[in-house]
Amino acid sequence: EAGVAQSPRYKIIEKRQSVAFWCNPISGHATLYWYQQILGQGPKLLIQFQNNGVVDDSQLPKDRFSAERLKGVDSTLKIQPAKLEDSAVYLCASSSPQGVPTDTQYFGPGTRLTVL
């Protein structure tokens, strides 16, 4: 079974520029998550999709971050404009209902963003 795919793996931009990250979840997984992981910290949830609808985006800085999951499969996370503090690894994860309350999340390798 193919895992969660993310691209690009690395991105370097200057502050105030825009950037987009792409995620392809495991086939058939209805739930998709985007996390931000700053160096030395645990991942922080930015947004959670169930199919193509948003379940939770309470921690997404909506003035600069946006995400979409058209057709309920692939997803794109965008930052516009980027700030220095956005330097982090952006992780995508997906899960599928297993009949228990807490679904196992499968993570992609992440995109390391450096904002100069």
Partner: protein, 113 residues
């Protein structure tokens, strides 16, 4: 959403059993406890999940006392490849909207030869 407290770091020699304890004093009735492992430059990986008493799989064991205010991840006979950050999460799960997606800072385990 119950938050957790874990030791920041632990060291262990190869071949020893390692126990990492997580405190979650505000755990709710419907909350499950889930542990993830993260290697450098990789995303977290599910290890084990439980609700009460003891759960064991091919990788680890999870011990949960009756009051469920803490849990202990047990890794038997660790090897150098077990060096990673371990996260304890507590929550109901994605399907209910209130979910176990708060990772905290985790415990950095270093296995020494």
């Amino acid at each position: 959403l119950a938050k957790t407290t874990q030791p920041i770091s632990m060291d262990s020699y190869e071949g020893q059993e390692v126990n990492i304890t997580c405190s979650h004093n505000n755990i709710a009735t419907n909350d499950y406890i889930t542990w993830y492992q993260q290697f450098p430059s990789q995303g977290p990986r599910f290890i084990i999940q439980g609700y009460k008493t003891k759960v064991t799989n091919e990788v680890a064991s999870l011990f949960i006392p009756a009051d469920r205010k803490s849990s202990t991840l047990s890794l038997p006979r660790v090897s150098l490849s077990d060096t990673a950050v371990y996260y304890c999460l507590v929550g109901e799960g994605p399907q209910t909207g209130a979910n176990n997606l708060f990772f905290g800072t985790g415990t950095r385990l270093t296995v020494i030869p």
